[in-house]
Amino acid sequence: MSANPDSEPTIGRGWEQFPHDADVGLRGFGPSIEVAFEQAALALTGIVTDAGIAATTRVEVACEASDIELLLVEWLNAIIYEMAVRSMLFGRFEVKITGTRLKGILLGEPIDQAEHLPACEPKGATYTALRVAQGSDGLWSAGCVIDV
């Protein structure tokens, strides 16, 4: 997807959000696919809140898909699921990818409406604007649109 004038690639931050008519697009960047996926996860949390999140609880997830782009959707959906059923927000992520299998660690804390002021609730990661690719500079990017 081409750069959008409305997107905000922020120096010093490995992720960005980009506009979609009704919802929010996100992209993570990194020197490896793993880091790009971790940054995409931070962008997902950024859709919900700007507040800091304490790493008091650790949750492990595992997912698998037939290709690396579908794996990004699986990864983001795994986080959305854990956010929903545990009523938690996550602020740190660790990803290990072997082939098309992913093991992830999510670190976070229970949602506190007064403290985290959640702006919206991600419903699911979509295949819209889904792209995982390595740029000519060697940097990986991983992004898609999130339905909120």
């Binding site: 409305d6 997107s7 905000e8 959000q17 980009f18 506009p19 979609h20 008519d21 009704a22 919802d23 929010v24 919900v48 700007d50 037939s66 579908l70 959707v73 699986e74 959906n77 959305i80 699921y81 956010m83 929903a84 059923v85 009523s87 229970p110 949602i111 506190d112 409406q113 007064a114 985290h116 002021l117 959640p118 702006a119 919206c120 609730e121 419903k123 699911g124 990661a125 979509t126 295949y127 819209t128 889904l130 649109v145 339905d147 909120v148």
Partner: protein, 476 residues
Amino acid sequence: MDPARFTRIDETTWQIEPTGAMRVPGIIYADEALIRDMDDKVCEQTGNVATLPGIVKACYVMPDAHWGYGFPIGGVAAFDADEGGVVSAGGVGFDVSCGVRTMLTGLKISDIEPVQTSLADSLSSQIPAGLGSKGAITLDPLELDAMLRGGARWAIERGWGEARDLDRIEEGGQVAGAEPDHVSHRAKERQRREMGTLGSGNHYLEVQAVTEVFDLEAAKDFRLNQEEVVVTIHCGSRGLGHQIGTEFLREMVTAAAEAGIALPDRELTCSPIKSEVGQRYLGAMRAAINCALANREIIGHYARRVFGHFFPDVDLSLLFDVSHNTCKVEKHEADGGGRELFVHRKGATRAFGPGHPDLPEALRKTGQPVLIGGSMGTGSYVLAGAATSEKKAFASACHGAGRAMSRHAALRKWSGRQIVDDLAERGILIRCPSARGVAEEAPGAYKDVGAVVLAAEEAGLARRVARLAPLICIKG
């Protein structure tokens, strides 16, 4: 979009001629200004839907359309199972059976004004909203399955609603063919504590006043009187629907490939209706419809409880409850005969016209109430299904204002605090846990809902009955 790319049929009808793999044309209902404001992606996505197997007549697009996922939001497409027709998880969306219900209070604006602040606070504390809010209801597996089968009827049997409501809910409050066994453990887990919660994003509960009546006769039939107050709820099937959407989207990517369906966009994932995956999705999706109907019935019950505290003699009666993200089996006139079709409405409202046999007696003369949510500042509309809606778009109309600006852009333009203060000055009280959430939902981020409903009326989809302006808005 550039209007020049379409064949203009009349003032509000724009046709995308079939090219390439398109099996049928695309037809967009909108005025020229709305067409110009629509993202080019709407045209692209409409063309893509038109390539799907078994599509009947056309892919229709409502005046509030915008860029969606696979299907445009505001898209209507009907499929014939006997002609290889498909069902698409993307064509229903993540928030299965997201919809609107409006309840009549019989109160006047002047009754609300003296208690407006405490009523807003009370509604805000009694109706769980936003991420991290906790509902008062936890369902065990047996009850959850009973809810997925029973819909609003289940909620009423448990004491969270009133039996007289059922007549005023699509499908009588309970869609047939729901299969809780086709709903995954994860989807059920996501819903266990979610019943009676509003959610977030563009979902809301509003106390609104009738500020303009367009059709006196229809307004009388709907019991919508100038200056009177109604309660409107906009929400859906919560985590359960989101998870069902997520899982079937994934499964249908493979199912479509196995069925030999070439998808121009992965998000269009679908499966033949006459396939194991297609049938399983229909069973799960119908369970999610029942979940949404139960959820809105429960929230309606909470609203009744709060109003009962402030106005002990007031009786909230349901005008109507209608969904705008569904796939339903309906009989429609197509190619000269009545055919059973699977009608996808993604961000589009069913709009049965006068005399439709599926409407309750009390609504048959006027047609089905079509409830259109606007933004918290600009107001909402009640329309009535037009007699021509059947011919125009399988008896469908628009569903909301539609966003004119992304959340991202809205956040850069407005401060949530400022919006809350500005609206308060205009007599509109906002209760939302997040100022940022308010900014993302800023009134200016939405299209002019008045232009959308006028276009729907001129296109013969639904006619305007009344305009509603917000007094209190509870958002997640």
